[in-house]
Structures are given as C-alpha cells and as structure tokens.
C-alpha cells in the first residue's frame, strides 16, 4: 500500500531566486520532460502538497512565509532545495538580507545543486525525495499503529 510515491504533488516556492532555477522547474512540466507522466502535479496549495520545492536563498522577509508554508503541509512531507542558492545562499550569500540556504530554517531532505539546476537533475532529486517520502509514510503508519 504505497500510493504516495505514485502521486506526488509539488508545492514550488521561490525564496529570492534569480528565476533561473524556477524556469527549469517549470521546464519539467513541458512536453520535453512531462513529469505528469509520473503523476507529479504542481499544485501551489500547501494543504494538497507532498513535496516542498524551494529555489533561491532565504531572505529575512520570506523566512516566516516559508516556515508557514511548511507547517501547513500535511504529513508525510519532504523538502527539496533546488539550486546552489537554495543550498548555501550561492552568489547572494553575502547580501545583507539573505539568511543563507533553506537548511537554515527547514529540515531539507534532498539537495539539488547547480546554477541553474538542470531539469534532469531536478527530476532525479524529486525521485530521490519520493524514496524518503515513502520512508516517512512507513514511519508514520508504524507510529500510528504503535500509539
């Protein structure tokens, strides 16, 4: 009974990315990559999402927004950081308003490096995240059974 990894819905949030990584994520939806083949849907609604995909370094203004989005997603959920900026802050790291990578505020499960990350890499990252998602679901149902 593992339907979760067959129907992963994605919430994509741009945390002060230069838009380079974002268009690569959207490229995954185009006919060339067509991630809907794997049941992946870009939902834009945290309550429906299973995977939170974040691009760009986190800035001081959207810190609380990202935390809020993460908190609104129902369990089980995973976080994927896409692009060097999401990993460390990248070329924006030294800016006065940048908090750093997404890891500063959220438990990130998969890192997808690259500037910009290529669609193939992003898909690889999501597929890796699916394994972790499945693991989390198993842990969750075990915890429920034990409780």
């Amino acid at each position: 009974m593992a339907y979760l990894s067959k129907s992963p819905w994605i919430l994509h949030y741009d945390a002060s990315s230069c838009n380079g990584c974002d268009i690569e994520i959207l490229a995954c939806l185009t006919p060339r990559y067509d991630v809907e083949r794997f049941g992946i849907i870009n939902t834009g609604n945290p309550k429906h999402a299973d995977i939170l995909v974040i691009t760009g370094g986190v800035n001081e203004q959207n810190r609380s927004v990202i935390q809020n989005l993460y908190d609104q997603m129902p369990h089980p959920k995973v976080v994927v950081g896409v692009g060097i900026c999401a990993c460390t802050g990248g070329i924006f790291k030294e800016c006065y308003n940048i908090a750093g990578g997404v890891g500063e505020i959220l438990p990130v499960d998969v890192w997808v490096p690259g500037c910009a990350a290529r669609p193939e890499q992003i898909i690889d990252g999501i597929v890796k995240a699916l394994g972790i998602l499945e693991q989390k679901r198993a842990d969750m149902s075990r915890a429920e059974a034990g409780a």
């Binding site: 339907y3 129907s7 067509d34 809907e36 609604n45 429906h48 609104q72």
Partner: protein, 282 residues
C-alpha cells in the same frame, strides 16, 4: 427489480467508470498539449494517496459537511439510476452542492470563501437548465420518473434539441472545466489555487474527489437520457460530448463570473426556454 439492480450497479461501478473517464481525460488532455500524460489509473492513485495523508483541520465541521456532500451525491445517483423522481434527484444534487459550499465556508479561509462564493454563482448559473431539462422530459414522456423516461422508446433529443445544447454548455460548469472553472481549477495554479477545495486535505479532499467521480457518472447519465431509445447512439453521444468538453477545456481560458453567469442564462432562456415553449405549442 431491474431499477434496484441498476442502483446497486451505480453504487459500485460509478467510481470505477469515473476513474476511467478522468484518467482518459488526463491522457487526452496531455496529448492535446503534446505530452504523454499520466497512466489511466492516475486519478485512483491520487485518491488512494489522499487517504494515506494526515488530515489537517482545526475542527471537524468541514469533514462532516464534506461527508454529507458525498452522501447526497450518492443519494442523487441512487434516485436517478434507481428510476426515482427526476425532480427529487435534482433536489438531492443541489443539496449535495450546498454541503460543499457550506464546508468551504466553515473553514474560515478567505480563499475558500471566494471559491465558495463562486461555486454558489455557478450553482445559480446551471440550476435553471437542470430544472428545464426535467420539464422537457416531462413534456416528451409524460412523466418525471426516471424509470418511465428510461423505458421511453423514442429519442427525446429530437424534441429537445435546445435543451440538449444547453445541457452540454452547463456540463462545462459541472465538470469544472475552463472557461467555466471559476470555483476550482485543475490546471492553473495561481489566483485561487483550488477555490472551494483550498482548505481540504487528506481524506477530506479524497471524499470531494470521490463525490466528483459519482457526479461525472450522474451527468453522463443525464446526457444518455436524451438518447434513451437507442443505447449505441447514447454511448456515442456521451463520448462526443465529453470530447467537446475536453477540447473547450484545452482551448479556452477562464472567464469572469459575470460573463459566465450571463452566458449560461442567455443560453438557458433562448435555447432551453424556447424549446419548452415550442414543445407546449406543438
């Protein structure tokens, strides 16, 4: 006896048919966009997944109201396919919609409230056509009972062409397809995000999806009624009508609520009303 069998068949088969229809819909939509598309059973996988997820909600009311939405959708189908009164089925269908709207209002989220408001507007837009449909069938067959209409030997569509076209138009509202997907959208992920469904998650959202599967079968059953004397023509009509809905979905973008409401009412008045008046003059 026969009608009880069809009612039971509806209860069991409708979700299966609904999954197949929406699955094929998603594949053909993808092909229209030059993509491959998900597997046919993807809608089933989606719903099964939703029941594996945690349900986030501050309080129980939305989940209870959504359950009533699903329950009355099933009741609608049982009345309709069980050969009951067409007007009663329409009433149950409206009640089911009202529970969905109430559930969205009870979540106290501004996005859900906007979605709920739009859902109500849609209800107002489509309701006249649905009632005129029942009136039209009464004029043709002399009965409001679905069983009598199902035993009718002619083709009601010959006498009800105007009403048939209006039903095809409002089907776009009911199947939640653009240009009339005001209260919820499958594709565009900005603006309202999911309208009425914004606040539902996990099994609650799953119940909404299951109710929609039942609704699709009921609506396609309504299309079939127009061709009731000839089953092959009926099935063909369902396929063509559904294909037209997909084509409209992929080639139009969403309209605002006022043109949608006006459009639906003008079509209802001219085609539906004109059809009824012509019938009564005959």
């Amino acid at each position: 006896m026969n009608t009880i069998l069809t009612a039971i068949a509806f209860l069991i088969l409708a979700p299966v048919i609904g999954v197949l229809v929406t699955g094929v819909d998603r594949i053909i939509t993808a092909r229209m966009q030059g993509r491959v598309g998900p597997p046919v059973l993807q809608p089933f996988l989606d719903i099964a997944k939703l029941f594996e997820k945690e349900r986030v909600g501050v309080w129980q009311a939305p989940a209870v109201l959504i359950f009533l939405h699903l329950a009355f959708m099933v009741v609608t189908g049982l009345i309709f396919f069980g050969g009951g009164d067409l007007l009663l089925a329409i009433f149950a269908l409206t009640l089911s919609e009202v529970f969905l709207v109430l559930a969205a209002y009870s979540t106290r989220s501004p996005y859900a409230h906007v979605g709920a408001g739009r859902e109500l507007i849609q209800l107002i837009a489509v309701e006249p056509v649905i009632i005129l449909t029942a009136v039209g069938f009464y004029e043709v067959t002399g009965s409001f009972a679905a069983s009598d209409i199902m035993n009718f030997s002619g083709l009601p569509v010959i006498l009800l062409p105007g009403i048939f076209i209006s039903v095809v138009c409002i089907l776009t509202f009911k199947l939640r397809k653009s240009p009339f997907d005001l209260s919820t959208s499958h594709h565009a992920h900005q603006e309202l995000v999911k309208g009425v469904m914004t606040e539902f998650s996990g099994s609650t959202l799953g119940m909404v999806e299951i109710a929609h599967l039942y609704e699709i079968v009921i609506l396609l059953g309504l299309v079939y009624l127009f061709f009731v004397g000839n089953p092959i023509l009926g099935v063909l009509a369902i396929i063509i009508v559904y294909f037209l809905e997909m084509l409209a979905d992929n080639s139009t973008s969403r309209v605002k609520w006022l043109p949608a409401l006006r459009g639906a009412w003008i079509i209802t008045l001219i085609l539906g009303g004109g059809n009824i008046i012509a019938l009564s003059l005959l």
